[in-house]
């Protein structure tokens, strides 16, 4: 029912006179029927758009089809949709406020970042929006003409696109500190900009003052604090991140929202039609940086032995891994193998996530499937073979997920299999370059597409698709790579008949790179406040 609240220019609300009692239904009323937070969904190859409600009455599910106990995350981009009738072209004011003081210390309306077409966000406390105006759906070129159903389906909506964050890092940190692992409900108050009356929800008469939505248990908008990665398909025209080169234009693909008070990271992918896909969530582990040094300290200088990780069973089961065991000491890690190596603790920490989402148990030479996401047209599937080095920096993981998603969306069905990044303690026996989750190896692609490894000169090496994958990995931030010069007249690809090398790689034969693609030198992902 309508309340006795109005919105002032400052965004504050104040109590007005009480509404009149309802009489009989009247479909001719000017009405704001519902207000909700939503995510945009497109169909028909991005030509039709709709909005899916995100609130406690419309619970989202994760990649394992488990219900997610919240609706959005601080820093996330969402749509605020105001559905009206008989209000064409009228302007509406909206404010958003927390239902409790646990996030900001009060329940005053929030200043949040509103999308301003075509490519920026502006701090606003009161969002004024016109019914039937679709600027919130504009792409980076300021156009929404690709949506063919706006007039038919959305002309009575007022749509705001915004990011659930303040304009300064300090305030954001304060919010996330207060919120910590908790959740905050956000309510929305709306009112006609001209302050004339309108009916709210299914009330039967137009009233003065504001209507409040999402303020009871029928539907609440529950927001939490977590780290976010927003990953964009290369053809996503809604990606407004920085242009990093022109002709052809290349943009950064990924942005992160760093949350200093959460260890959870949620990875979102925005496909070529800007559909949002929640890919997965991982917990960041903070570990001491490592560097491989050439001399192994005597036992007395290694500190306390914290953990022994034994790979005897793995090796006996046919896993071709070189470490016999890792001895994790308080001062570093001893990699015990044919030739021992010492990974000395360095100044500072590095954050790593475990890429092995499925966590398939067992040992052996087979490919261990680590993730198989297949929802709404996005497929991300990868595994590991002959390695227990399955930890990676979150930035690189975002680039990896984006690369695999786009590669698959472009019609390449290869099972991507990794030969490993870093051990969970940031060491990487026997290598020096794979420390700190900053480099990884991938099996070469084959025409069988089954993930089983091959070599550059084999008849089943799928050079053409390997080139495509390498270029995509590059575009998602894996700037540097290692491979070898080679020629191959025995495989189906003809582009490698004469001596060649995979793009964005340097010829490296020490160590060998004839049986994997090594990627490293990842372009760090800027924070949303950078």
């Amino acid at each position: 029912m309508a309340t006795r609240i109005t919105i002032t220019d400052s965004g504050q609300t104040q109590t007005l006179n009480s509404p009149l009692a309802p009489d009989t239904p009247d479909d001719s009323l000017q009405r704001i029927s519902t207000v909700y937070f939503a995510k945009k969904v497109t169909t028909d190859n991005g030509t039709r758009v709709s909005f899916t409600k995100i609130d406690s009455a419309h619970v989202q599910r994760d990649h394992q089809n488990q219900e997610i106990p919240y609706d959005s995350i601080l820093g996330k981009t969402v749509y605020l949709v105001i559905e009206t009738s008989n209000m064409a072209t009228l302007s509406i004011d909206a404010v958003i406020r927390p239902s409790a003081n646990t996030m900001t210390g009060n329940t005053e309306t929030l200043q949040l970042m509103r999308f301003v077409s075509p490519d920026r966000y502006e701090a606003q406390r009161m969002f004024t929006v016109q019914v039937g105006n679709f600027d919130a759906l504009n792409n980076k070129d300021g156009s929404h003409a690709h949506y063919t159903n706006l007039q038919a389906d959305h002309i009575n909506k007022a749509i705001i696109k915004l990011q659930l964050r303040p304009d300064g890092r300090a305030v954001f940190d304060e919010w996330t500190r207060r919120l910590a692992e908790g959740s905050i409900n956000l309510e929305v108050a709306v009112e006609r900009t001209d302050n004339n009356p309108c009916a709210y929800k299914d009330e039967q008469q137009e009233v003065n003052g504001a209507g409040i939505f999402l303020n009871d248990d029928t539907a609440r908008f529950r927001v939490v604090g977590k780290n976010i990665y927003n990953i964009h398909h290369g053809s996503n025209t809604y990606n407004t991140l920085a242009v990093i080169s022109t002709n052809p234009e290349r943009r950064r693909r990924i942005q992160k929202v760093l949350n200093n008070h959460s260890t959870e990271v949620v990875f979102f992918y925005y496909d070529q039609n800007d559909n949002e896909h929640r890919i997965c969530s991982r917990i960041k582990e903070t570990v001491t940086r490592k560097r491989r040094v050439n001399t192994i300290p005597p036992l007395a200088q290694r500190g306390t032995l914290l953990q022994t990780i034994d790979y005897t069973a793995n090796r006996a089961a046919g896993e071709n891994i070189d470490a016999h065991q890792l001895l994790v000491y308080s001062n570093g890690t001893l990699g015990d193998g044919a030739t021992d190596k010492w990974y000395a603790n360095q100044q500072g920490n590095v954050e790593l996530v475990n890429m092995d989402i499925l966590g398939n148990a067992g040992v052996g030479p087979q490919i261990f499937e680590a993730f198989n996401y297949n929802q709404n047209g996005v497929i991300i599937r990868y595994g590991f073979q002959h390695t227990r080095r399955r930890s990676i920096q979150p930035d690189l993981f975002a680039g990896f997920l984006g690369s695999l998603a786009q590669f698959r969306q472009e019609g390449h069905n290869h099972y991507i299999v990794s030969q490993g990044f870093s051990y969970s303690d940031a060491s990487c026996y026997p290598s020096a370059e794979h420390v700190n989750g900053e480099a990884g190896d991938l099996n070469l692609l084959t025409t069988q597409q089954d993930g089983v490894n091959t070599i550059l000169t084999a008849a089943n090496f799928d050079y053409d698709n390997a080139v495509i994958l390498r270029n995509i990995l590059y575009d998602f931030g894996f700037i540097l790579g290692r491979s070898e010069n080679f020629s191959n007249t025995s495989n189906a690809s003809t582009a490698d008949n004469a001596s060649t090398r995979l793009p964005h790689t340097t010829h490296t034969a020490t160590p060998r790179h004839n049986n994997h693609l090594h990627v490293h030198g990842f372009a760090q992902i800027p924070d949303i406040y950078a």
Partner: protein
């Protein structure tokens, strides 16, 4: 480098190789290979490029497979103690469940000895198995006398690779060249030569008689064989670092003795104390010193009779 330290331990059960298994070992002289065999330009394969070119030479791989590695055999047919300084010893690093072990039909005839080629195929890294190791196995009357790994194509994690190429010349001198491809700058390892002694055992072959010294061993060479007291500084597979937490590597300082190229007397294995170059990680030869005694071996007729740890 030196053969020997361990040699054939007393008590090896040779019955396993004879009688019922005899048919595994071809005796048809028509299948004896002609020498030279292997990589005849091995002494010139001294750079990354030339080594890679040889390692990947399809014709050479075909030549090796033309030995016809056709018969599966069991690992326990070949269990012999190997030298203390062997990288990837057969007993520890051949995994019978996943490595296919095959004996070749063609073999090397050397007087009353037959030298068989035993291939170990890696079946897990690629869709198709590939030859990872080849051992040359010396036999007399279906009895195993000695074995030596002559070929290696070990593809480790992150491209760390170890290779051994071989050549057997017309005088039955076996030349082995090891290569290591790691993140460190490529460094050519010493060329090793071996001969087949009248006993059927392999022993180091040295081009020149007189005193010999390199970064790993020093002593007197007589008739192209080690003779008398030798000192050797090598990584020792018998040193379990877990038992010696004060050690930072498994190198030993060995005081050995040879007669006609075969080990004799009491060998003393001390810890080799050495410092490493901080930049390269390479041991600094000038810092080497003899540490504490770790174990001894007693030899008789070239065979170790007793190993005693201290």
């Amino acid at each position: 480098m030196s053969k020997s330290q361990v040699g054939n331990e007393k008590g090896i059960n040779t019955k396993a190789y004879s009688a019922e298994n005899g048919s595994l070992f071809n005796t048809n002289k028509a299948d004896c290979i002609t020498l030279p065999f292997g990589y005849d330009n091995i002494s010139k394969l001294t750079t990354v490029e030339s080594a890679l070119s040889a390692i990947q030479d399809e014709n050479k791989l075909k030549e090796m497979s033309s030995l016809k590695f056709d018969k599966d055999i069991k690992k326990d047919l070949l269990l012999l103690p190997e030298e203390y300084n062997v990288f990837l010893p057969f007993s520890k690093n051949v995994n019978e469940k996943f490595d296919r072990i095959k004996i070749a039909t063609d073999y090397l005839c050397y007087g009353e000895y037959s030298l068989y080629f035993i291939g170990v195929l890696n079946t897990v890294r690629y869709a198709e198995p590939y030859m990872e190791k080849i051992y040359l196995v010396s036999m007399k009357n279906n009895h195993l006398v000695d074995m030596k790994r002559i070929y290696l194509n070990h593809q480790g994690e992150m491209g760390f690779a170890n290779y051994t190429l071989f050549n057997i010349d017309k005088n039955y001198i076996i030349t082995l060249q090891d290569y290591e491809f790691t993140e460190s700058p490529f460094k050519l390892k010493p060329l090793n030569k071996y001969q087949i002694l009248p006993s059927g055992k392999f022993s180091g072959y040295y081009d020149h008689d007189g005193s010999y010294k390199d970064g790993e061993e020093q002593g007197i060479v007589k008739n192209h064989k080690k003779e008398g007291k030798w000192v050797e500084f090598k990584s020792n597979d018998h040193i379990d670092l877990k038992k010696y937490p004060e050690f930072t590597d498994s190198y030993t300082y060995l005081e050995a003795e040879y007669k006609n190229g075969l080990p004799v007397g009491k060998w003393k294995f001390y810890k080799l104390l050495q410092e490493y170059n901080e930049e390269t990680g390479e041991p600094m030869v000038e810092t080497r010193k003899k540490g504490k005694l770790i174990y001894t071996e007693m030899y008789k007729d070239g065979v170790v009779e007793k190993r005693e740890f201290y």
